[in-house]
Symmetry: C2
Subunit: 289 residues, 2 copies
Amino acid sequence: MSGAFIAVDWGTTNRRAYHVEQGSVIATERDGLGVLSVRAAGFPTEVAALRTRFGPLPVIMAGMVGSNRGWHDAGYVACPATVETIAAAVVQPEEAVWITPGVHIDAPERADVMRGEEVQLLGAVAAGLAPGDALLCQPGTHNKWATLQQGAIVDFTTAMTGELFGLLKDHALIGSEMAGAVDADASFRAGVDASAEADLLATLFGVRAASVLGKRAPGEAAAYVSGLLVGYDCRARLREPGQTVYLLADGLLARLYRAAVTIVGGKAVMVDSQASFVAGITQIRNFMS
Amino acid sequence: MSGAFIAVDWGTTNRRAYHVEQGSVIATERDGLGVLSVRAAGFPTEVAALRTRFGPLPVIMAGMVGSNRGWHDAGYVACPATVETIAAAVVQPEEAVWITPGVHIDAPERADVMRGEEVQLLGAVAAGLAPGDALLCQPGTHNKWATLQQGAIVDFTTAMTGELFGLLKDHALIGSEMAGAVDADASFRAGVDASAEADLLATLFGVRAASVLGKRAPGEAAAYVSGLLVGYDCRARLREPGQTVYLLADGLLARLYRAAVTIVGGKAVMVDSQASFVAGITQIRNFMS
């Protein structure tokens, strides 16, 4: 297929839509209308509303809209996953609307799933922003780390780094110490250093002990815990000294992961995740029959 | 000092009191009157009430009653900590009432604290339930692992194993999968096995992936996550094959830790924690001037 279309990155809590013409973005909009905000029967109406604004175009969607909490379960393709295998497995909930599948690992010893991130990962290569053989990272609530070979997703790991930080801050005993701001500062770097201990359950309690003993200034614990978790995550993934990580991130998460990757001995290269998504979904569309 | 006395193990949410005479328990009672349930000015009244029931005896207390949220901050003694150093540092908030200090590690690279557990640890040795050179473990919300040499606490580590389990169950995305019962069953053992990965952030998300892909029966995830955390905790602490761990625990926690210690290659010996507390506080009293 070719020609103009509407691409939608439809997540759990947010949605971003693009009017794409000949691989370029003519218009884009972002809103908080994630799948949790839409009734099961409400998706056709929402798609009609997108067409009112962007034109009566084909719509190709990725992300949680294809989960069992979304519009229509689009299933998963296995690794190695490519734009071709994903294009061949799209589902069509109504005329001129397609949802791309996720990617899963379903081995006896290990299970993992992604839904939406695969479009950015494959798109980063399609857009020439990352090489076909690379380690890519998408920081977030559930961090994705993906190994690409010859442009295919051959393996990936999800780490609940961001979710655990939120749980500790909001609900743990040490949460009362985690009121300060987080950035890639000296406290964050101290946490990344401490993550070398590989003893997360103990280093986390150390935050409480340091507070009780007056060893850490108030306001520093949040950045330290962030460094501890992000550092632990990066150390588990970077197995070779000097390894390059392509980071699909911006803002604070980009700063934190760039700092942590560097401290643990890697090299960080920033990649534009929106440009990657558009390149990925355009490639998938090109391969759709 | 010698003669009959009232010993109180006064924790955050629970309290246990013993009428001790010549090293034997004449009477004991347990209630939910932890320090969080007592107003700062209410402690003298509570002690008077204990004397009404047990007799007009000296009172020696350990635990969170000696913290800044308790009756009177009893501070900490450093490692190596013994019944002698603790007895020499008791504080006396009113006549014939003493509170024992906690134990801390306050090194440049590491901080840790305990308050109350030290009495059980030293008492296990005093009662002959553990040798003077031993690794002891007190499972709980904040697990204590202590190394004793010649009957002194020379090092210890706190792991937030129990607290993290509760946080995940009550607040994490995978919490919705953790509805089943926990015991030292096949699911728990599978979690202990998986903890060898030393990649906690990823193995925890694997619980979600396994659920989405239908790889784990409903009701098995809670025991699996428990095994993952307890196994990770034990592996971080047991550094020698065949190492013996003296477990101050009973009931479910005793079953879980005994199973995990055994799976990771150690040997578990159960120790009566109440008998240890009474022996420890009696020894401390003997050394008080």
